[in-house]
């Protein structure tokens, strides 16, 4: 009969106390696992998604962090827009390899998912290094103005597939739904990034929707402001709104056409030809008062350090404390049982068990309690993540894979078992020092 078998018998003999102790360990480990998994998900999410682009250029209004959260993570509403002509200008910039415009603000009809107006070229780029978007079989990327490509999660949640049609809500207002309907042409394969919960529509289609143009007077005033800002500003072109028919005077049935001056983009995602050029371009853009260029990785690093990092540290400290309490629980549980077990230990000694053997049995009890409780905690923790994932996702827009395992989890249980072994030494030494003759006569 092995020491662990003897220890397990003893644990079973004190079923209630052992169960409660094991449960406290399980809850501590479950909480720790939840924190580790969520932390891993958040860290990965915030470090991976941003790395596909060197710069995000947006309006000067709002903080750099807000711009990144809004553009890269589709969190929160955009504050302001840039003139479309800014995009055209950056598109031709010699330092820029790719400039991708994003037009944000609208949502699906139920306001659950963000609409992203963009150009087909976006899908030809790597969204993170080494990974390009792919569509599920039978689908394709954007081509026509009223085409849409949807993220994997959107497809799952809305039950949409290739051919599905849907309208969009203006500014996320469910009571202000546009008449135009977009057709799903492709469903993106899961990326583990916020793109999974985005609905991408063709930028041309976005501009075909009435209400997406900037009012003429405002557009002109803004253009004048930017003209003062842009040194090489060109005079109004032939299709300048001053020369164009307004919406009321258009022919009935003709597609709604917005002149470039009245078009806006929320942000421009930029891949520069080299990293150095990104730094120079960022400095150049930030000298101007109406726009800002932000290095997304820098902002995400800041977010991780200042917000996510602090929350993570706090949660880790809390869970470590819980684990310590659980370990103390093991100690107290076994230690309290020692008075009742003095005779049992004395009998074992009389049967020939050495001091080391009885100490080992007590340590084995602590280890077993921790191993069983800890294993249960691992399952419980992932169960909690599984249950919490959709709730967190709905409330925070963060994607969580319930089956995500963290490397730290592999260390967690062995480390706990080691600690439990150390904790078990305390009551173990009580058994070690037991006066056999006295205990047998008590």
């Amino acid at each position: 009969m092995s020491l662990f078998a003897i220890a397990w018998k003893s644990i079973r003999q004190r079923a209630l106390a052992s169960s409660l102790t094991g449960l406290s360990v399980a809850l501590g480990v479950a909480l720790m696992v939840t924190v580790l998994v969520l932390n891993g998900v958040v860290t990965r999410l915030f470090s991976q998604s941003a790395t596909g682009f060197d710069l995000v250029i947006g309006p000067a209004k709002g903080s750099p962090m807000q711009l990144v959260l809004n553009t890269i993570y589709f969190v929160d509403q955009p504050i302001d827009n840039l003139p479309f002509k800014e995009y055209l200008k950056f598109k031709k910039h010699p330092s820029i390899a790719h400039a991708i415009p994003f037009a944000l603000g609208d949502t699906t009809q139920d306001a659950r998912f963000r609409i992203v107006g963009t150009i087909p070229e976006y899908f030809a780029l790597e969204y993170v290094p080494g990974h390009k978007f792919e569509v599920e079989p039978g689908g394709r990327f954007l081509s026509e103005p009223l085409d849409a490509v949807i993220g994997a999660r959107v497809a799952r949640a809305q039950g949409w597939s290739v051919g599905s049609q849907f309208p969009i809500a203006h500014g996320g207002n469910v009571n202000d739904v546009h008449d135009q309907k977009f057709t799903v042409r492709g469903v993106l394969r899961p990326t583990g990034t916020p793109s999974d919960r985005a609905v991408f529509i063709h930028l041309d289609g976005f501009y075909e929707i009435p209400g997406h143009e900037k009012p003429l007077e405002e557009a002109l005033a803004r253009e004048r402001a930017f003209a003062g800002d842009i040194a090489n500003h060109q005079p109004p072109a032939a299709d300048h709104p001053q020369h164009l028919p307004q919406a009321e005077t258009r022919d009935a049935g003709a597609p709604h056409r917005i002149p470039d001056e009245q078009k806006e983009v929320t942000a421009i995602l930029v891949q520069t030809k080299t990293r150095t050029l990104a730094i120079l371009l960022q400095a150049n853009v930030n000298e101007r008062p109406f726009a800002q260029a932000v290095n997304p990785i820098e902002q995400i690093g800041k977010l991780l350090r200042n917000v996510v990092g602090n929350i993570r540290t706090m949660l880790v400290v809390m869970t470590v404390l819980i684990i310590i309490v659980s370990l103390v629980g093991i100690l107290v549980s076994i230690y309290n049982s020692m008075a009742d077990r003095r005779r049992e230990i004395a009998v074992m000694r009389a049967l020939g068990a050495s001091r080391t053997t009885v100490l080992s049995i007590i340590v084995a009890e602590a280890v077993l309690l921790c191993a069983v409780g800890g294993s249960l905690g691992l399952l419980l923790g992932h169960g909690m993540v599984f249950v919490a994932a959709p709730i967190v996702e709905a409330r925070s827009d963060l994607l969580i894979d319930p089956w995500s395992f963290e490397a730290a989890e592999a260390v967690l249980l062995p480390a706990l078992i080691l600690l439990a072994g150390l904790v078990g030494l305390v009551p173990g030494f009580t058994a070690y020092r037991a006066d056999v003759a006295r205990s047998l006569t008590e």
Binding site: M1, S2, I6, K9, S10, R12, Q13, R343, E344, V347, M348, R349, A350, L351, G352, A353, S354, R355, T356, T357, V436, A437, L440, T441
Partner: protein, 224 residues
């Protein structure tokens, strides 16, 4: 010679600081296979003597030789191992472990010897004491007499050369006392194990061919 005590003395410190002598035995021998009843009053040092012989309590002086080995000279770990292999113990209160079945209690006795626990032998031993049908019963599910029979099987589990029995029938009803005693004696005879039983019962001692009175050879305080 199965057991030889020479000049064994043992005292305990009293709460006041003085020494209370319990054992002072010049010589005591037990031949291989011999069965001896040691008669003595309660508080006369019988249990202390058994603890000294088993190496649970060390004497202040003297030698305790079991099967040719002076256990007093052995380091503690070696003494524990020697006890597991060479000495069987039957207690007055049986001392079966409540968490373990009858079979597991016997296996437990084997586990501390360093040898592989022999399940078949444990079953055979329990069969020999009439408990072949109660292998998987816990002590609380067994009668007092059955519990003591499990204790006997456990004491014989490692094929000891010496079995120490401390008032083995004191907690057994009168109807079963004789049965238990016969069982222990027969088992010891069959397994060629020397038996030293301490008791204060004249009836129990009366069943043995050799009955020694502790007061005759134990003279604590220098009376003898």
């Amino acid at each position: 010679m199965s057991l030889a005590l020479r000049d064994v003395r043992k005292s305990f410190r009293e709460p006041g600081g003085g020494l209370l002598p319990i054992l002072d035995i010049r010589t005591f021998d037990l031949l291989a296979g011999e069965q001896v009843a040691l008669l003595g009053p309660s508080g006369g040092g019988k249990t202390t003597l058994l603890n000294v012989i088993a190496g649970i309590t060390l004497p202040d002086d003297g030698s305790v030789t079991v099967d040719g080995t002076d256990i007093v000279r052995l380091p503690e770990a070696a003494r524990d191992r020697f006890r597991a292999l060479k000495i069987g113990f039957v207690f007055q209160t049986f001392n079966l472990l409540a968490a373990f079945t009858a079979l597991e209690n016997v296996l437990l006795g084997m586990s501390f010897s360093g040898r592989r626990a022999d399940r078949k032998r444990a079953q055979e031993l329990l069969g020999q004491v009439g408990l072949g049908h109660r292998l998987h019963h816990r002590p609380t599910m067994l009668s007092v007499g059955e519990q003591q029979r499990v204790a006997v099987a456990r004491a014989l589990a490692n094929s000891p050369t010496l079995l120490l029995a401390d008032e083995p029938t004191a907690n057994v009803d009168p109807a079963n006392q004789s049965t238990i005693l016969n069982l222990i004696r027969t088992a010891c005879r069959e397994h060629q194990v020397s038996l030293l039983m301490v008791t204060h019962s004249l009836d129990a001692a009366g069943q043995f061919a050799r009955v020694d009175r502790l007061t005759e050879f134990n003279q604590p305080g220098g009376a003898g």
